[in-house]
């Protein structure tokens, strides 16, 4: 199952090829490292679930994940022990985690989740430990646990963005802590400042630094061109060895007769693309499809022509080179199919209010709907257009609309490429801006393009933007088995990991129903107890000291765990992306700890 993704990404690290994934790199880096140390050579293709590993050495990676997964048990044990000070409760929690089938399944394979849960539990444990050291601030163990919290936070966020929820949990806990200290009048403001600084240092600066370092390692390790290139901007690609933009030299200014590729400036925008297939019946005019395609392909090539002259005299080597200028009216001919980029007043396939963009004409002869005005953002007319660096807008002359990529994925007939439309709303967005990437013109001198080198901060920002886009873009496909958040706590439906109908042994992700139902009941029961205790306290009922101690454990310690559960569960209700059963597991850890405490 998902081993195909993460195992493959581990291989990429070993092969040092660049790839793109919606999760931050730490988890995959660790997998790659484990594989590297155990002698895996990164050659297994990881093509589809159920393929056999055969002679490849995969035990290192699996063993690593399983080891981290088994660390959860002692972590949970220690946390509960610290919070409730009772051995039976801690043992019960540990047993629940040991015998939960779901946890076992999840940590046996090459997945990100065991790594994520490891860091997550580590953060919670060290936070709790740190709280219990609060009476001895600035002692060695206090510093140790505090900075360990920070390290684990960076780890959790570095594996998956779900780790941000635990950051939130720790953050809330810290704010509460500080508020307490602020109210303590015996503490001078200077001391309070020290407390504040220590926390800022360990919980904000340290994780940030580590997180950035992870990315720095990511980008230095992966310095070869690979399958993820197309998601990134031209400037980024020029950094990768083997990419056709690496150390490339192209003619600087755009000229008529040049062969070019155009890339959309939207984050993760594709190349302007066309192919022989036509739009299906009922979707605009039945002309050739024009799409945006994220991968490099011969079909991304376009030839720039003047709107009034033909191709023949341009290919004549003796004719002088003529540069394209800002404000010129041009025609773009698709190199493979010799059709012109065309638009007309038919509605676009998905974005109904935009116009459809097609390939039209035979061998370069079309009609006046093939004319586009080329404009550079922020420049005056008559200026030359620079390859890579100019941000270009293409305005359709006849209708006045602007060529843009809507970012929506076309259905099967469009090969799941991205829709390209002509938008009549003249808004300045990256959707409607393009730059020229490749530029082939034998008649022009080439110049080197080292000037494009982006700084590390820019790379970091860009990769985050791309990841966020990718995350929100994971929309459910037709017929895919997805689940809804409310399915999770009741163990409504599992997730098939591997084994199609033909094989005999299968792996199915499903929690231990007894444990899960118990957890659910505990949450309800806890809420009941907590509310009645809070009301009793508020009403000023006289309690015995034993009960008072109990209520402190219930409200404070239980509250922390409950908050953790809520933070890891509720946000999924608001997410539009594909959700799977395994997203519930972090929350499930919290509910198990809660269960352990109250029985």
């Amino acid at each position: 199952w998902d081993e195909t993704h993460f195992g493959k990404m581990g291989s990429y690290y070993i092969n040092r090829t660049f790839f793109f994934d919606v999760h931050p790199p730490l988890g995959k880096m660790l997998i790659g490292l484990a594989g590297y140390l155990s002698g895996y050579d990164g050659t297994f293709p990881f093509q589809k679930p159920g393929d056999r590993y055969e002679h490849h050495n995969y035990m290192g990676m699996r063993g690593f994940c399983a080891f981290l997964g088994s660390c959860l048990v002692p972590f949970a044990y220690l946390t509960v022990l610290e919070l409730s000070k009772s051995l039976p409760a801690a043992l019960l929690t540990a047993f629940i985690l040991i015998f939960d089938t779901g946890c076992i399944t999840l940590s046996q394979y090459i997945l990100l989740d065991p790594i994520l849960m490891f860091f997550l539990m580590g953060a919670v444990l060290s936070m709790v430990k740190c709280n219990s050291c609060a009476d001895r601030p600035f002692s060695a163990s206090w510093w140790f646990w505090l900075s360990l919290t920070g390290v684990n936070l960076a780890g959790a966020t570095g594996v998956k963005f779900v780790g941000l929820f635990v950051v939130l949990l720790v953050g809330l806990n810290t704010i509460y802590d500080l508020w307490d200290l602020l109210g303590n009048l015996s503490l001078s403001l200077v001391m309070f400042g020290k407390h504040l600084l220590a926390r800022v240092l360990c919980l904000i600066l340290l994780p940030l630094a580590l997180y950035t370092a992870v990315f720095a390692v990511h980008f230095t390790v992966l310095n070869k061109s690979g399958p993820g290139d197309g998601f990134f901007s031209s400037a980024f690609q020029s950094q990768l060895i083997g990419n056709n933009l690496h150390n490339v030299s192209v003619p600087e200014h755009l000229a008529y007769g040049s062969v070019v590729t155009m890339k959309n400036l939207r984050m993760a925008g594709g190349y302007l693309h066309s192919h022989w297939h036509l739009y299906p019946e009922g979707i605009g005019a039945r002309q050739q499809q024009v799409t945006a395609y994220l991968h490099k392909d011969l079909n991304n090539m376009w030839i720039i022509k003047k709107h009034d002259s033909d191709a023949a005299d341009l290919s004549d080597p003796s004719s002088p080179v003529e540069f394209v200028r800002h404000g010129d009216i041009i025609r773009l001919e698709h190199k493979e199919t010799s059709r012109n980029l065309h638009s007309h007043q038919h509605e676009a396939p998905l974005t109904r209010k935009h116009f459809q963009v097609t390939g039209y004409g035979i061998n370069g002869t079309g009609d006046s709907n093939d004319f586009w005005r080329i404009e550079v953002v922020g420049r005056k007319s008559g200026k030359l257009i620079k390859v890579l660096r100019s941000q270009v807008r293409l305005t359709h002359v006849a209708t006045g609309c602007i060529l843009g990529s809507s970012g929506k994925t076309l259905p099967k007939w469009g090969w799941e490429q991205v829709e390209v439309t002509c938008t009549p709303y003249l808004k300045e967005t990256p959707n409607s801006l393009w730059n020229f990437e490749d530029h082939i013109n034998p008649k022009l001198p080439n110049i080197s393009l080292d000037v494009l080198k982006p700084s590390f901060a820019e790379i970091l920002l860009e990769s985050h933007m791309v990841m966020i886009r990718g995350n929100s873009g994971l929309k459910p496909k037709d017929n895919e088995v997805t689940s809804k958040p409310w399915h999770w706590p009741i163990n409504y439906q599992g997730l098939r990991f591997s084994g199609v109908n033909e094989t005999d042994y299968r792996v199915y992700l499903l929690g231990n129903p007894v444990i899960w139902w118990l957890n659910l009941i505990t949450i309800g029961l806890y809420l009941l107890i907590a509310v009645s205790m809070a009301v009793a306290l508020k009403r000023g009922v006289q309690l015995t000291s034993e009960l008072k101690e109990l209520s402190r454990v219930v409200l404070r310690g239980g509250g922390q765990i409950m908050l953790g559960w809520l933070l890891h569960y509720l946000p999924f209700f608001m997410m539009g992306r594909v959700l799977y059963f395994h997203h519930y597991f972090p929350a499930m850890l919290f509910s198990s700890m809660l269960t352990g405490k109250y029985w």
Partner: protein
């Protein structure tokens, strides 16, 4: 004696005079020249069609919100004697004489005008001075965007009215709490809070935010009451129950009542029928009901049926077959079984009829008594006109190669046996022995040999090429885990087959179905279905020329052009009062900073302001800043198309904050008399600038008088504003 009589009269007269004056001014600003322009303005084109449908009693579904707001607009039309005959097709179209423009726009305008005294009263109830209250009311009065929005057939002003009413009545109730619990007026204001909340939610779902805020505040107040030892346990319980009744049960009941009225008013079938299930459609007059009235309820062996796909996307369609076969080879070179095509056809046709047959028997008529088909029974489906059996086998489907082809079996005498047994699974069954019912039962057909499920490919572009006449593809889905509507079918037309002979049967199939009994859904079933459809029906999110993002609103970076005179330069824009918007933002910022400052200082036991004015500051802030936050921040998480007018409820709360902050500043920060008078002078100057801006922008607020191009250009204070200037 005389003094005793005099005093209350004077006091009440003073407040009333303020309020009356404010109400009058509100009415003047909102109602002046209301029927101008006599043309469709902006979203009137959208709400107007619903008003027309109400007038004609035709059923519709609007995914933008619950029906109460539409009903109120329709009430205006009803009072004005509107007959619903107007084609709402384009913004700017002239109204014909039968449209009572004035009365259609009256209700929103009245609601907008009443917001002015409401704002005044809210500040008074928050225990601020009349001066501050007057300021708040005047700011609302002179807010151009609120004026524009309330002068047309739009819902925001009604929504804001109910929101403010809910806040005011809660405050009244809370202030009465201290003196006289469970008195008549106490009950009145408590109940009014609930009613106003449900009305707000009924107008637009945005009202939910304010409702939640009030619930939270009420919860907090009750939490303080729990800590108060002077209440006995019993009286606490009574308080709790009273609040639960008024703030939860009554709003829910009211909300249901809106839908009840909606469904009671709209009993005719109309353009949105096909979104609903067959059962719902059958409950409407006309449309499907005309056909299905009087069909036998239970499907039996020998029944003649049409099967409708429950998904209804991209269009509603029925299981269909015709004599043409699948081409031997498709365009891309893949092979097919060359058997008779089975498709999903979006129109009624005689080829949509199928006969349910018992695999163990030969007869195609219903025996006497009929033998009903139950959940789990195995049947064959015989196509009525061609008498071929519905079949699926391990051949790739034409458009979805990962699924099985579905065909009507033709015996070519090659080694491809018929696999035509299907198990009927009723999805919405109550017990495992349920009978398959017409319209009501949602059924899956599971193929016995391959356990594939009969499914209509519901994706866009699922229509077959030329050889399949562009009808929609039907496949056998092998990965049948989970429930998806495209795999579920229901019987729509149904009759008991009587003729065994093929020729007779064809005649029978062509004849219309007979009438028998009718089926009616209960209100709750209709409500749940309609509510579910409203929440899940998602219009394809469209880009709009004037759509904006939530971030643009605070700084008013966008505007919306509502209307443009066909010849002159007169136009109406949704544009706020710049000074008010800017000062509201400043006020919010000052409030947050000052609160944080006070809070931290209080934590260190340093008290800058007296305790009661701190309480005042907190309660006023929790209403106005809280109202702003809950009505604004959720929009950052929404994915739908957003417009500037979505910000108006939040803006109203933010405007209420300005006088609160001003009064606090003058009371506590201006210590000396000189500072105080300087501050008042500043406030007066600032107020006159508010008026000045209101006056400057009033031509584009009211659409009168028409401005020339240079004047319009002068109004374009920001480059991002889109003011329409006619080219000469």
């Amino acid at each position: 004696m005389l003094g005793f009589l005099k005093q209350p009269i004077v006091v009440t007269a003073e407040i009333n005079l303020n309020l009356v004056a404010l109400t009058a001014m509100g009415l003047v600003t909102r109602l002046w020249g209301l029927s101008y322009p006599r043309a469709v303005v902006f979203d009137e084109v959208y709400y107007g069609q619903f008003v027309s449908l109400y007038m004609k009693r035709i059923f519709f579904v609007d995914d933008s919100g619950p029906p109460f707001g539409h009903m109120l607009l329709a009430l205006g039309g009803y009072l004005g004697g509107f007959d619903g005959n107007f084609l709402w097709n384009r913004i700017g179209a002239e109204y014909s004489t039968n449209v009572p423009v004035w009365s259609l726009r009256l209700l929103p305008a009245l609601a907008g005008a009443l917001c002015v005294p409401l704002a005044y009263q809210i500040l008074v109830e928050l225990q601020f001075s009349h001066c501050a209250a007057l300021g708040a009311a005047l700011l609302i009065l002179l807010e151009n965007s609120l004026i524009t929005q309330s002068r047309f057939m739009l819902l925001e002003s009604i929504l804001i009215f109910f929101i403010l009413l809910a806040v005011l009545s809660y405050l009244k109730f809370y202030n009465l709490q201290r003196q006289s619990s469970f008195s008549g007026s106490w009950w009145f204001w408590l109940l009014l809070t609930g009613v106003a909340c449900s009305c707000a939610v009924g107008v637009k779902y945005m009202g939910l935010f304010t409702y939640m805020l009030l619930l939270a505040i009420a919860g907090l107040h009750f939490w303080h009451m729990i800590g108060d030892q002077s209440f006995s346990n019993v009286s606490l319980m009574c308080h709790f129950l009273a609040r639960g009744l008024a703030l939860i049960i009554i709003p829910v009941a009211m909300y249901l009542a809106f839908f009840y009225a909606h469904l009671a008013l709209l009993y005719r079938s109309g353009p949105h029928d096909q979104i609903m299930t067959s059962a719902f459609q059958a409950s409407l007059e006309g449309g499907l009901a005309r056909i299905t009235q009087g069909q036998p309820l239970e499907v039996a062996y020998g029944s003649q049926i049409t099967l409708r796909n429950v998904l209804g996307k991209p269009m509603q369609c029925w299981l269909h077959s015709h004599t043409n076969t699948y081409p031997i080879r498709y365009e891309n070179g893949r092979g097919s079984s060359h058997q008779q095509q089975v498709t999903c056809y979006p129109f009624k046709d005689v080829n949509n009829w199928w006969i349910v047959k018992d695999p163990g028997m030969q007869q195609l008529v219903v025996s006497n008594p009929p033998r009903p088909v139950r959940h789990g029974h195995v049947v064959q489906l015989v196509h009525g006109i061609t008498t071929r059996y519905l079949n699926t086998h391990d051949v790739a489907a034409p458009l979805s190669p990962h699924s099985q082809e579905v065909s009507c079996y033709i015996d070519y005498n090659i080694s491809m046996p018929a696999q035509n047994l299907w198990r009927v699974e009723i999805v919405n069954r109550e017990s495992d022995t349920d009978v398959w019912k017409t319209i009501l039962s949602e059924v899956r057909f599971v193929h016995l040999n391959t356990s594939a499920v009969l499914k209509a490919s519901g994706f866009i572009g699922a229509s077959l090429p030329e050889w399949g006449y562009r009808q929609l593809e039907v496949v056998g889905e092998k990965l049948s885990k989970g429930y998806h509507q495209s795999m579920v079918w229901n019987v729509e037309e149904h009759r008991y087959g009587k003729s065994q002979e093929q020729k007779e049967r064809e005649v029978e199939l062509h004849s219309p179905t007979q009438m028998d009994i009718s089926k009616n859904l209960s209100f709750m079933a209709k409500f749940t279905e309609l509510q579910w459809k409203i929440l899940t029906l998602k219009n394809e999110d469209t880009e709009h020329k004037y759509s904006s993002s939530a971030l643009d609103w605070v700084t008013m970076d966008t505007n919306i052009a509502y209307w443009l005179h066909p010849t002159s330069g007169a136009q109406i824009h949704l544009l706020g009062n710049v000074v008010t918007w800017a000062s509201a933002n400043v006020a919010a910022l000052v409030y947050v900073c000052l609160s944080l400052w006070y809070l931290i200082r209080r934590r260190r036991k340093i008290y800058d302001i007296p305790e009661d004015s701190w309480q005042l500051w907190v309660s006023a802030g929790s209403i106005s800043v809280g109202g702003w936050v809950v009505n604004y921040l959720p929009f950052f998480m929404m994915e739908k198309t957003l417009f500037l007018y979505h910000y108006l409820p939040a803006l109203t709360f933010q405007i209420l904050l300005i006088p609160i902050v001003l009064q606090h500043l003058s009371d506590h920060l201006c210590r000396s008399l000189l500072l105080k008078s300087m501050f008042s002078a500043l406030v007066v100057a600032w107020f006159s600038s508010v008026y000045l801006v209101y006056h400057t922008f009033s031509p584009v607020t009211y659409g009168e008088p028409s401005l020339a191009a240079p004047q319009l250009r002068a109004l374009r204070w920001r480059d991002s504003w889109n003011i329409l200037i006619r080219k000469q």
